[in-house]
Amino acid sequence: MDGVTAEVETALAQAFREEWGQVVATLIRITGDWDLAEECAQDAFALALRHWPRDGIPRRPGAWLTTAAHRRAIDRLRREAVGQAKLREVAAMVQPPRPGGGGDDSGVPDDRLRLMFTCCHPALALEAQVALTLRTLAGLTTAEIARALLVGEQTMSKRLTRAKQKIRYARIPYRVPPAHLLPERTPAVLSVLYLLFNEGYSATAGADLLRRELSSEAIRLARILAWLMPDEPEAVGLLSLMLLHDARRETRMNEAGDLVTLEEQDRARWDGAGIAEGTALLDGALRRGRPGQFQVQAAIAACHATATDAADTDWAQIAALYGRLASLAPSPVVELNRAVAVGMADGPAAGLEIVDALAASGALTGYHLLAASRADLLRRLGRRAEAADAYREALRLAATDTERRYLSRRLAETAANS
């Protein structure tokens, strides 16, 4: 590795995961400029890549990066010849107290969660709040966010730009909200945590399918949120959903790193304690009689997690729950999942009917799971040539190597039997 030791790379990767959001948030507070904040944070990490191999890894990487980013901001503003008053203001703001310092009355006992609530300003559209938080605090790329929210990268890029423009021109402050204003921001924060968990659970790109740390961090934050908001059944529902998925983590891939489908997973290796905690949390949430999308999704996950074997799965119940989910949070992806469940409960022909209607609507064009689900239903109907075509299409669209290997295997099986 030319000049960059593995140690520095590891330290930088860790600093990125742990400090990126904090560095950007601090720079936003100092400059009031979201784009500048992000650019300076990027500059600071680039600078670290040059300096740390030579000078050693600093004792407090976060403080080092924040200071470097702050200096960059002053340099950039000086070059752009902003007014002297603004420059003095930015230069004078030494490290502001970390939000853990108790300078606010949000009552949120975690830095990262507090920054998420700060980012999710209700004057922005819900999806913009979510996208902006994932970009600014979690450091996800625009492409990753676009994929997670099922829109094109260009569309997502435009939405992020528009949101930042509104922040600037309507002067939306970056301020930790007081406790009584948390509820209106909670749905966005729940969505952020859910997408972070998913990103870690089935990474949207690259060879690293299990970016485990994103998921465990999302679970940690969901736990705090559920504790903070015991009267918000959706917060508890989200935690339950994550725990139920996470309980199956170890069996999702075999030793060769290939994807193992739900029906082929070794249920004896599922984490019984996680499933027990998840179902108990879900029962408690449902008793409040205010169902929401995360509680319903957790109920679906619980159906899978508590079935003794694949054949024992209550697909009729799952199909009904997806119907419920479709009315609470309508989306073509939910409809696709409903089709798969209906295909299991009432036979592949019934499932295919829904999938074909979805394909005709064009809502999921380019989504590899649409093609993969269609392929699976066609295969079960014995229409092998069409199934093979659909597997090929899915293969072309899939984002991770693991998924591609799984689809290749299925394609080979289908082709071999035809």
Binding site: A123, Y169, A170, R171, I172, P173, R175
Partner: protein, 107 residues
């Protein structure tokens, strides 16, 4: 930072035309926030003007026939949008109509 508050409502909002603002105006003047504003007579008394080429085109009524119409406006100056939202939420018209906060174009 200056914002325009566009106070909108449907026909039923007209019933509140003579209500006054229940101390809101005085409070915001005292806080140094209110810079101007007025209530508007109903859209049936509006005239819309467009100039196309060298022709002045007039029409009777508001520029868009929608259920909600602008019934008044205020110009305010606040530290940021959070303060503007707090000020707007206190306006009595927010209780029966809709208020749109629009930042002013600044140089």
């Amino acid at each position: 930072m200056k914002y325009m508050l566009l106070i909108c409502g449907d026909e039923s909002a007209a019933a509140h035309a003579d209500d006054g603002c229940g101390g809101w105006t005085e409070e915001m003047q005292e806080r140094g926030i209110l810079r101007g504003g007025a209530g508007l007579r109903p859209p049936t008394e509006a005239t819309t003007v467009r100039v196309r080429g060298d022709q002045v085109l007039l029409s009777d009524g508001p520029f868009a026939e929608t259920k909600e119409q602008v019934g008044g406006f205020c110009l305010i100056e606040c530290a940021d949008l959070d303060e503007a939202i707090e000020v707007t939420a206190k306006h009595p018209a927010a209780g029966y109509g809709t208020i749109e906060i629009r930042p002013l174009w600044t140089a």
